[in-house]
Amino acid sequence: MLRLENVLKRYKTGDVALKNVSLEIPDGQVIALIGPSGAGKSTLIRCVNRLVEPTEGKIYLGDTELTTLPPRELRKARRRMGMIFQEYALVERLTVMENVLSGRLGYVGFWQSFFRKFPKKDVQEAYRLLDRVGLMHMADKRADELSGGQRQRVGICRALIQDPDLLLVDEPTASLDPKTSRQIMRLINELCDERGLAAIINIHDVLLAQMYSQRVVGLKEGEIVYDGPPDGLKPDVLTEIYGEEDWEATIEDVDEDEEEASSK
């Protein structure tokens, strides 16, 4: 279970990205975090694994209080949180296999990782995951030879091989075409399901958020303005989050898409 208590983030520039955000995510729940650009979605996710240090407030992962952990403990805690990035953030000049195995870095020592001598079961798990996402044959390719969708799959493998309790997913589809976006979102959903993972998925596409989550949280200017089921996103709610716009069309689309998705 992940719990945020009054998390506040003020950047050095003085901008306040998060204003006293409190949020609780039970084990195994997939939530979508929506909101306009600059609402603090990315900051929120990065505060959880402390790629960005929260200014105030507390964050608990299970019983562990994350915000005060010293570096060594923090690294241990990070192993329990897999992160998936917007621009895939694969190390482009490393092979696919190395990128996947880099998810185990928190578990192996320096020289082991330096000579790429990962434990046998890590390698096996890496192959299993690559097979699961359909990229087994790409293991020795360099990451920059892959297409966007393939890269994101590798990114997913890297996060899953950490054997995490929680996935932090930052705009996984922002650089992908609509079809690949859906495939990736479905894959993340399935994998969370298979492994009983909780996930926070940042996404600006309301449609995808509704299709692939159990709960939607709307963020506006660093504050939570909506927290409820996906079908509760009525025009007035969307107006509250994003501002005035004709939302009817968007919501109609959702219904059609959901039918389409469920008929598959």
């Binding site: 092979t95 296999m97 190395e98 790429r116 390698v123 096996q124 192959y127």
Partner: protein, 269 residues
Amino acid sequence: MSQPQTSYPDYWKKPPFIKRPWLRWGLIIGTVVYVIVALGTMDVNWVRVWEGLPRGRKLLASFFPPNFADSRGVIIDGILESIWMAIIATIGGIILSVPVGLGAARNLSPRWVYLFCRFIVSASRTFPEIIIAIFAVKFFGFGPFAGFVALSIGTVGFFAKLLAEDIEAMNKTQAESVRSTGSNWFQWVNYAIQPQVMPRMIGLSLYRLDINFRESAVVGIVGAGGIGAHLLTSISRYEYDTTASILLVIIVIVISLEYISGYLRKWVQ
């Protein structure tokens, strides 16, 4: 989690950077052998090295604190000569570079002019400024004039090459549109080419001034004027105080030149 359908390999090795094994091992072994042989033929006189270490310490000590007082006049004189030499060599070099650079641009000049100018460029680029300076001293006698000639030649090699490359890479349609107005060759160069290459050339000339100053500090070692002669004398007379202060002054000037030229270049572009 569902149990695995098949068993997966538990061993993975990073594919080697160089795929062909013979080439890979050849390069590795070749490098090792080379380094061993190279170090083996270096003929180091360790006794002499050991004897020299106290001198090194003494030399280092004279930097902290530096002593500028003893030989101030000489240092200022030499440094100024170096600076003026660098400036006039940069200007002279650039003036010479313009025709050479125009001639060495393929899209501007007839073939024989192009080949001739290219030859000048590569000839002046090949030899280090110091070697050119040695000959300049032979031809023109000791003093800053020889240094001026040597650095100017170096500048031509550097500047004309970049100018030519810049002209070759410029926007063709702009050049053609001016040409189509019926202008003559000089008007064409003046209106179509100069505006396109000018900002970068000003930046490059400042950069070259920077290089020329560094070189002007050493051409004195072979008698071509500037601070280098004093540096050489101070070392051979074991006056390390003077050596240290000369080096510090050079460092300070190089840093400030780099800073100023960086600032001006930003301002120009």
